[in-house]
């Protein structure tokens, strides 16, 4: 004990009190993570200097390119990859939050077995035992295996699963989840097939457009590829052609795209086809946009009751005429169908009617993703009819083994689908998901895959932007944080014991498979003459895409005849259930997987500023009639179910419609999601749409009953009202 400085003294004081007086209260606040020297330092790493790795975001299926900042083996920040053709250096809130999936406290840390389904009592399982179990179950099930994949399943894994199923003669893997349902991929593909002979997702070039008519598509919020469309929208508003551009949004409840629109038209749910048809009829009758456009409109438009269309929009007919004229006379108009209208009982007809508007201007703003020069292609999405077929097979005991990866069927499907009962009839369920979600809770085994920040993969991007076909690369940016194994490797190892599959899956590991697919591609924008260099550049630059977009003509209208503009049918009598139910994916929580990430839970919803909760949006006049105000709990009841949620009095919604965001109401999925809010999909039946292939998830009517309960809304906006106690946040 030589000399005692002030600093030492303070240290002692802190130590003294922390241990003796305030034990447990002391917090290390400045150095949460200490630097630890390496045993073997990775060659490219120096302490204190970040490394950036390019990869692909898997928080939704858009396939945005990311770069991840890694400090001494920890991933600390995700940003957009500036070179990537989809998101061009930008990244949405959900993409930013991927780190909280990687470091989620509720991750399954290794292979586990669940003795009794739903008990949530998991016993650890050694990986060799787990892989052996998978092999034995696959071997026993033979053709009676079903594979269910979703948005979080990497493209390479979809391809491997498909090869496995093909080799053993099992039905092709299913690729379906709530995201694909809410993106209405089925209705979009069906409409594009009918109109243009292309059964695929559409891409839109908004940056070049001067007029955009969006029908229900919240393309800036949670629809299809929101970051890519966001970049395009920024350019649209940059007055690049000396014009600010006109955006008109037709939807019953204002989305953030509606908030950015120059004109928001509150169209009645189910009447979108009628309105699109009316616009065509007006263009034809008035001869707007010249003889050619008017002639085309006349060929498409059938008999439409214009007054009924205007009434369904709550606008005078003159306004519809002005809108029709603005669209027809624009240089590069674009019409975008999506969201709830595609989930109505006339979904495909509605999408078709809106998409047909594009044909007037030669579909210049519309494009389909060009095919890659090799056989590599984006895995297709399954329809709800295929889901029903599988549910029936499961219920009939024809499925002995179900593998679930990247989807959460129990949460993703309405209860009327019978999924819960069907799962009970399956001998063995194996989930590969990183968290215990509602489906994993019913699984016999969880063999957790690596998260996308720890694992390999690729993603064939759809829809494309700027006409560029893209294979986005996914590589581990950090070492695996837990004892988790890549599902690709697990499958390849297990399949080795099954003769039929072994021949179809000859790769030593998934990286060998991915490498083979990628090096088969010709030289792309990042160059590289030999395989080794191309493979390295693929990872370094975040993917493969050609230097210039391949030549492609605007889609040509293949359809003949007039459009079907009949209205949608709804479940429930109007007398008993007076309101339309409008469901929408939360901009932050997406289809619900975001609910396990605190950043997304804690970020305010853009329009209501509510976080952490589920609410129902009600028009002020309706709220007055019901005698409810902010925070009053109501019971929203459809013929299929009921939820109890607090009211948010929302000015941007039709008085005959109530809206509830999706994403909450989990019974599992970790501590941040569990037992929070309500899952409004329980209000929806399991009916199919007009082509009998897609779930009509936007076809319910509801009644709203005031309950004698209150729940304070967790909203960020000012809660100061005249006459109320002032609520100062400081």
């Amino acid at each position: 004990m030589t000399h005692l400085t002030r600093r030492d003294f303070l240290k002692v004081s802190a130590a003294g009190t922390a241990t003796a007086i305030l034990a447990g209260c002391a917090q290390e606040t400045e150095r949460w993570v200490a630097l630890e020297p390496y045993v073997r330092a990775p060659e490219e790493q120096l302490a204190g200097i970040p490394n950036w790795y390019a990869s692909t975001c898997r928080m939704c299926p858009a396939g945005c390119g990311i770069i991840v900042r890694v400090m001494n083996g920890r991933a600390v920040k995700i940003e957009g990859n500036p070179e990537h053709p989809v998101n061009r250096g930008k990244l949405c809130a959900r993409g930013q939050s991927g780190l909280q999936l990687l470091y989620n406290p509720d991750r399954v840390t290794g292979a586990v077995r669940q003795g009794e389904r739903g008990s949530r009592k998991f016993e650890p399982l050694a990986w060799n035992e787990a892989i052996n179990t998978l092999y034995e179950k696959l071997d026993a099930a033979d053709q009676a295996v079903a594979i269910w994949t979703g948005s979080a399943t990497s493209g390479h894994l979809c391809d491997l699963f498909a090869r496995y199923a093909g080799a053993v003669g099992a039905p092709a893997p299913l690729r379906y989840d709530l995201t694909s349902a809410l993106n209405s991929v089925g209705a979009l593909a069906a409409a594009n097939n009918a109109l243009f002979g292309q059964a695929t997702l559409p891409g839109y070039t908004l940056a070049q457009a001067d007029v955009i008519f969006s029908f229900g598509a919240d393309f800036l919020g949670a629809w299809l590829s929101a970051t890519g469309f966001g970049v395009e929208f920024g350019q649209f508003r940059s007055q690049r052609f000396g014009k600010r551009g006109l955006l008109v949004q037709f939807e019953p409840k204002m989305s953030i795209t509606g908030a950015k629109a120059d004109r928001w038209v509150p169209v009645q749910p189910g009447a979108e086809a009628l309105v699109a048809g009316a616009l065509l009829r007006i263009i034809a009758d008035e001869g707007f946009g010249g003889a050619e456009r008017a002639g085309l409109a006349a060929a498409l438009a059938g008999e439409v009751d214009l007054d009924a269309a205007a009434a369904a929009c709550d606008v005078p007919l003159a306004d519809l005429v002005a809108l029709a004229r603005a669209f027809a006379e624009a240089e590069r108009p674009v019409a975008i169908p999506g969201g709830a209208l595609a989930g109505a009982s006339n979904g495909v007809a509605a999408v078709t009617a809106v998409q047909a508007l594009n044909a007037l201007a030669g579909s210049s703003g519309l494009g389909f993703t060009p095919a890659l020069p090799t056989a590599l292609a984006a895995p297709g999405w399954s329809s709800y009819a295929e889901v029903q077929a599988l549910v029936e097979r499961m219920s009939a005991g024809q499925v002995r083994l179900l593998l679930v990866h990247g989807a959460n069927p129990v949460y993703d499907l309405p209860p009327g689908s019978g999924i819960a009962d069907a799962l009970a009839q399956v001998e063995t369920i194996i989930s590969f998901n990183p968290l215990v979600d509602e489906t994993s809770a019913l699984a016999d085994y969880i063999l957790p895959d690596r998260t996308y920040l720890e694992g390999w993969g690729y993603e064939v991007v759809q829809p494309a932007f700027r006409g560029l076909p893209v294979v986005s690369s996914q590589q581990p940016v950090v070492g695996p944080f837990h004892d988790v194994r890549p599902t690709g490797d697990v499958l390849l190892t297990a399949a080795r014991g099954i003769p039929a599959a072994a021949a179809a899956l000859p790769w030593t590991d998934e990286v060998a498979f991915i490498r083979e697919q990628i090096t088969a591609l010709p030289k792309g924008a990042s160059g590289g003459d030999d395989d080794e260099v191309r493979w390295a550049r693929f990872q370094q630059h975040g993917g493969w895409w050609p230097e210039a977009a391949p030549e492609s003509a605007a889609p040509e209208l293949a359809a003949q005849g007039t459009l079907d503009v009949a209205g949608a049918a709804f479940d429930g009598e109007a007398a008993q259930y007076p309101y339309y139910l409008h469901l929408f994916p939360s901009v932050l929580l997406g289809d619900g997987r975001g609910a396990s990430l605190p950043w997304l839970q804690g970020a305010p919803d853009p329009l209501t500023t509510v976080s952490w909760q589920t609410w129902v949006e009600i028009n002020p006049t309706t709220a007055q009639a019901l005698g409810v105000d902010h925070g009053d709990v109501v019971r929203v009841e459809s013929p299929h179910g009921a939820v109890e949620v607090p009211v948010y009095v929302f000015p941007g919604i039709r008085p005959d419609t109530v809206a509830i965001p999706l994403g909450q109401g989990h019974s599992d999925l970790g501590r941040y999601a569990r037992e929070r809010g309500s899952h409004a999909l329980h209000l929806v039946g399991a009916a199919l749409d007009d082509v009998g292939a897609n779930l009509a998830w936007s076809s319910a009517r509801v009644r709203v009953t005031k309950l004698d309960k209150k729940q304070a809304l967790a909203r960020l906006e000012s809660t100061i009202d005249p006459g109320e106690d002032i609520h100062v946040p400081f």
Partner: protein, 178 residues
């Protein structure tokens, strides 16, 4: 000690104030804490800076990040083994090193130079401004056991910053605090 030393100034003030009443506790803990914070003889391996410097090894050979980024860096076990797989293998200290290598464990070095909390120091900026290592770390090449020679507090930093040509720019809080 890192955990406790990492308390915020505010907590220190609070705790410091509270503890003045509890002198007895302070006295008991004083002994423990001072014993724990003195750098000598408690490193997991008695690394001899002098010996390495005498053999012509430059600082940057081991502290490779010093001219490139904020952190000078502590070498990996692998780097030590690069020489010591064959050099001085009969020394008991080197045998300790071999033990870490065989167990593939990082060496839990104790921090010698304490940088106060809430401060972000960048080695590379100082090297770029031609500040020698010795200006803050003393004649490490003469030390058998590395020990702090200066108290790296705000006064020490600012004394030097005040003498620089661009002293106004270097006087700004945001230079170090963020």
């Amino acid at each position: 000690m890192r955990r406790v030393a990492g308390l915020s100034s505010r907590q220190r003030l609070l705790f410091g104030g509270a503890v003045l009443g509890g002198v007895a506790i302070v006295v008991i803990l004083l002994v423990i804490v001072i014993a724990q914070t003195s750098a000598a003889d408690e490193q997991p391996i008695a690394f001899n800076h002098k010996r390495h410097a005498e053999n012509g090894i430059q600082c940057q050979f081991c502290h490779a990040g010093v001219a490139k980024g904020p952190v000078a860096g502590i070498p990996s076990v692998e780097k030590c083994m690069g020489c010591h797989e064959y050099v001085a293998t009969d020394s008991p200290q080197i045998q300790r090193l071999h033990g870490y290598w065989e167990r593939q464990e990082p060496i839990p070095w104790k921090r010698v130079n304490e940088q106060p909390s809430f401060v972000y120091f960048n080695h590379a900026s100082h090297i770029a401004a031609a500040v020698s290592c010795g200006a803050c770390h003393g004649a490490v090449e003469e030390m058998t056991v590395a020990e702090p020679v200066v108290n790296m507090n705000m006064g020490f930093c600012l004394d030097c910053h005040a003498q620089q040509e661009n002293k106004d720019a270097l006087w700004d809080c945001a230079v170090c605090h963020r």
